[in-house]
Amino acid sequence: MSEIEFLNWVRGPAFEIAMTIFIAGIIIRFLEIFLLGRKTNLAEAKGSEMTGGLHTIVSRSIPDSNTFKRSTFKIVSGYIFHLGLLITIFFFAPHILLFKDIFGFGWPSLPTPVVDAFAVVSIITLIAVLIHRLQDRVLKFLSSTEDYLVWLLTILPLITGYIAFHRIGMTAPSLLAIHILSVELLLIAFPFSKLMHAFTLVLARWYNGAISGYRGVQS
């Protein structure tokens, strides 16, 4: 198979498969969880579930100062690479074209050198995150193969994207194809792994805030 054929396959049938698994998987996961339902709370409410839930969805992103002191590396590194992923995925002009094709609308992009810088910072941070996971006793204890696999699937698009953009090592069609393929692998793994947190955390935070809000506590 020639390079361009590989690239066309990656941009064609492979993308279709990955997208299908991604979309179908997420919807199935959501329904699997949501349709289980939960019992209505019969106790007299002290506060509002709705306010509590919505508030926590946002406020849980802002740790209190003492928690921040205790878990500084986790919080800071987490924010850096998530921000990096947000910028490189959603604010790079060629990617926005892809979203425009899928959703029907796009948005302004950031200058490419900015995106490039964020990619580098994210890659470095992710490597630091891995080292931390391997060294911290709690993390080493908690971590399973899935944690390491997800780490790999997350950093690969960043690295291959950087390489493709800077044309390092191979000819352009192969580099681009490998980058797109790495994203497709990520999409396929998404619904079956902890990556689902990207979507389910809204629900989890809502439940947390709702349960506490009912009792009059802002969690």
Binding site: M19, L35, H95, L98, D101
Partner: protein, 391 residues
């Protein structure tokens, strides 16, 4: 137009003098060629000497399923361009468009050239070769496939000119109704076939000749830039060897850089300034054409540096995105106006079907979950203080 029918015995120097071309012009051509092929200036005299004294090698040009664009490109001579001089340093013994002869006389000329120069002539091919039904393209009653295999058997080297010969080109595009393939693929598929069933009576198969191991130079492009074609020929004439080729058989001197890496609009790409439509402000300002489907990033050719029409311009400079025409399968890349970061298939439709199917599956699984939970509730026997310890 230069006369190719005789002059086989004259050296280039003699031919040039008879044409009234000064030595100065000739040396300018050699210098231009040397620089195009990234050779040091020290090579210029060597090129000049080689071209002057070379006994003009025989070149047989076979045209199959092609549009003649490659020949048109090569012969685009607005002024008495130096490129046309190349025809004076070769003996073009067979070329459908340029030859004076026709019919049986033309075929005889081909066979005579093959016999006289067996193992030494250059075979240039443009157009792809059909394999589904030999009737799709024949010359003098002979299928393209047979003519190619027969002629290739005695060639010193094969040059596939144009994307059709190089990679299959337009005829090869989905669904490829004629079963068209590139020279390289034809050799892979049929290279072991005996060249039989053809009037080989008039061909002296001197050394047998295996088609499989023929050196192939790929010169893709739709069409290729004129100087690229002549540059390759010049290299061969000067050194008698094939220039350094990339993994697709293309001369690195011309195909070693991507359009993107040499494009004058690259700073706009890097800054993230793109034309959104063909006539918006960005387009007028000459911004990058990535969003309009430019395949520059994945296309290797010399368009951005050498340009067309004697360095006048190239598609991007004229405001049109690069089609990627020197790459294989450029017709099947999802569309010329679909950017590289967009999938070639229709995502929204797929997404809707996936979502619909998933909704059904999800509801079913949700129902299964609920029933499992209520079964657990049914199975549950009230736990009393007597149930807290194991027996």
């Amino acid at each position: 137009m230069t006369d190719f029918s005789n002059g086989k015995d004259k050296s280039l120097a003699e031919v040039l003098r008879s044409q009234g071309i000064s030595r100065r012009s000739f040396l300018k051509f050699c210098a231009a060629t040397a620089s195009m092929m990234a050779m040091s200036p020290a090579m210029i005299p060597k090129i000049a000497q080689a071209l002057e004294s070379a006994r003009r090698p025989s070149v047989i040009w076979l045209s199959f399923q092609e549009c003649t664009g490659c020949t048109e490109s090569l012969t685009r001579a607005h002024t008495a361009t130096i490129e046309s001089l190349i025809f004076d340093s070769i003996s073009l013994d067979y070329h459908h468009t340029l030859q004076a002869a026709s019919g049986e006389a033309a075929e005889e000329a081909r066979e005579e050239a093959m016999n006289e120069n067996w193992g030494k002539y250059l075979l240039v091919v443009d157009g792809s070769i059909p394999t589904k039904d030999m009737g799709y393209s024949t010359i003098a009653g002979m299928s393209n496939l047979d003519m190619f295999l027969q002629t290739a058997a005695g060639a010193a080297a094969i040059i596939s000119v144009g994307t059709c010969a190089a990679f299959g080109g337009i005829p090869h595009a989905h669904p490829n109704p004629t079963g068209a393939y590139s020279v390289y693929d034809i050799i892979k598929m049929y290279g072991n076939t005996d060249v039989d069933g053809v009037s080989s009576a008039s061909i002296d198969n001197n050394s047998g000749g295996s088609v499989k191991d023929k050196p192939i130079i790929t010169v893709p492009g739709c069409p290729p830039i004129p100087v690229v074609i002549t540059g390759v020929l010049t290299h061969y004439l000067t050194f008698g060897t094939i220039p350094e080729l990339d993994h697709l058989g293309r001369p690195k001197a011309f195909y070693g850089q991507s359009i993107h890496d040499r494009c004058y609009r690259r700073p706009f790409y890097d800054k993230g300034l793109f034309a959104e439509t063909f006539d918006d402000e960005g387009a007028k300002k000459g911004w990058c054409l990535y969003k309009l489907g430019c395949k520059g990033p994945t296309t290797y050719n010399a368009c951005a540096t050498t340009k067309w029409n004697n360095g006048t311009s190239f598609p991007i400079e004229s405001g049109h995105p690069c089609l990627g025409c020197s790459e294989p399968h450029f017709w099947d890349g999802g569309g010329f106006y679909k950017a590289l970061s967009i999938p070639t298939i229709d995502i929204p439709t797929t997404a809707v079907y996936a979502a619909a199917g998933a909704a059904a599956a999800g509801v079913a699984l949700g129902a299964m979950n609920k029933s499992k939970k209520s079964n657990a509730a049914k199975e549950h026997t009230k736990t009393t203080i007597d149930d807290l310890e194991k027996e």
